[in-house]
Amino acid sequence: MRHYHPRIDVTHRYRYVPADFVKHLLSTTLVVAALTALLSGLFHEPVRPALKIDAYATQHPKGFLTVALGDLNGTGAIANYGPPYNHGTGSVQDIIQQWVGVIHPVYPKQAFVLEPLAYAAHLDPTLTPALNQFTHASPAQQALWERAFGTALDHARVQGSHVLLPGGAYGPVGTMMQGLLHLGQSGLMTGALDRSPADYQFDNQNALLFLQGHPLHSAAKKLELEGNQWGIIHEERAPYPGPWWMTIVTAIYQLPFIANASAADALALGAGMVVFLVLMFAPWIPGINRLPRLLGVHRLIWRNYYATHQADSSDGPSVPS
């Protein structure tokens, strides 16, 4: 097989013709400006309102309490996530994740339940005794109360935005959870979760992590936005185009052996990167670097050129310096 060679790889039979690049670039920019201005005027941008904690707590009070209990007793997805949030193991996919360490610390028992409740206790002083009783109890006692509350929650009835709990040995946890539900429904919980030490709010990590389990997943599933539903490239409001440029990574997610792997995200993104590297290094990959010549699409691209130049060899080489 011949190696690539600048002399034999490309034709040397062509001429230079006058071109006005100022006009060319101005034209293409005006075309895109007019096109996008028109599309925005006609179709604007798709928007689906954000899922707010107050709306979720009002419409799904039992779901809200289930999420909050998982945060309190440490069984929630974030409570047991692992790096970069905490020292859990539930969502650790590989050694690199552990190596990076806890760089965005989140301990949901404190951050998602006890600290927001401490703010709420300023507005509702009846929460203070319950909070004190809970925080001064032994971990074993706390676990007993949490378990009893979980059992009661399983049998609870929902009446409007209220959760009616049967009796049980859940101690102060009942009062605390009802207090957190009220805080959630008030619209103040997002602020309590995202409150930064510097008081300026630039980071919405904790409010999103609070919602990230069942609340966001159940809403996304209905919109076919989950990973196994080609969700990455779906726009939330069809037929608007989504970020279709991530089609390759999304397709990799649909492969059963990747979708079902414990390190699915690492594998899918890693495989996507390999595909990209093949594209990037195509000029050096034997076979791929000769593919365009074999496919012959270039004959269509340069149809006019071949028709005028190569048919008439008397043109001769004419490459200006």
Binding site: P6, T11, V17, H24, A50, L208, E236, D265, I301
Partner: protein, 207 residues
């Protein structure tokens, strides 16, 4: 060569009028297929211009003002146009074997622009402030964390905003600029030689 002389020489070519606004082109580089790269660059210009107006008004503006909402629509359709023209351009240059004749770096920079454009656009999707932003922030975090990119925190709107309006576009813009400069300096890849021309060239080489 002295390195300052080397840098001066490179800069002289990089910033020259001949590089950016040529007055002649090879005759094979004509037609609609040869405007796809320019249309991609023009989409990037519209993205930057609409982005500057949006950034100047602050992140709440495009969610509460009708003018801001219109601007973000332009920004949205510009990114669709950007990737649409970029992928068509990529297909055109791939089927042209555009890395031939010592143009490998031009190809690599183009593919790198595609790679960098993806997180640039993604951080923008996180700035919409709607359900899509919430969902993609929580969905993307697992893959990023698993690959060791936890520093890139899609749940931190402040970090994503800074990356989207300054860091990523500056990097992407620089890659696109050098990519375009290389195209101009190296010239647009010429067609494959015909069988007859190839034979003539090989014959000349043998003798």
């Amino acid at each position: 060569m002295n390195w300052t002389v080397y840098v001066r020489e490179k800069m002289r070519v990089l910033f020259s009028l001949d590089t950016w606004l040529p007055t002649e082109l090879p005759d094979y580089a004509a037609g609609l297929l040869y405007t796809l790269g320019s249309l991609t660059a023009s989409s990037f210009v519209i993205l930057v211009l609409s982005g500057i107006i949006m950034a100047a008004n602050g992140p709440q503006w495009w969610t509460i003002s009708s003018v801001g909402f219109y601007l973000r629509g332009i920004h949205f359709w510009s990114v669709q146009a950007f990737f649409f023209f970029m992928i068509l351009h990529l297909l055109r240059v791939f089927f042209s074997g555009a890395w031939r004749g010592g143009r490998e770096r031009t190809w690599m920079l183009g593919t790198l622009a595609l790679l960098v454009a993806i997180p640039t656009a993604f951080t923008g999707y996180l700035m919409r402030g709607d359900f899509y932003s919430q969902w993609n922030a929580v969905q993307s975090k697992d893959g990023l964390n698993a690959l060791g990119f936890a520093w890139f925190n899609p749940l931190n709107a402040g970090q994503m905003y800074g990356l989207h309006v300054v860091v990523m576009p500056v990097i992407l813009g620089a890659i696109i600029a050098v990519h375009i400069a290389f195209i101009r300096i190296k010239g647009v890849v010429p067609p494959y030689p015909s069988h007859e021309e190839l034979q003539e060239t090989l014959h000349e080489e043998v003798h």
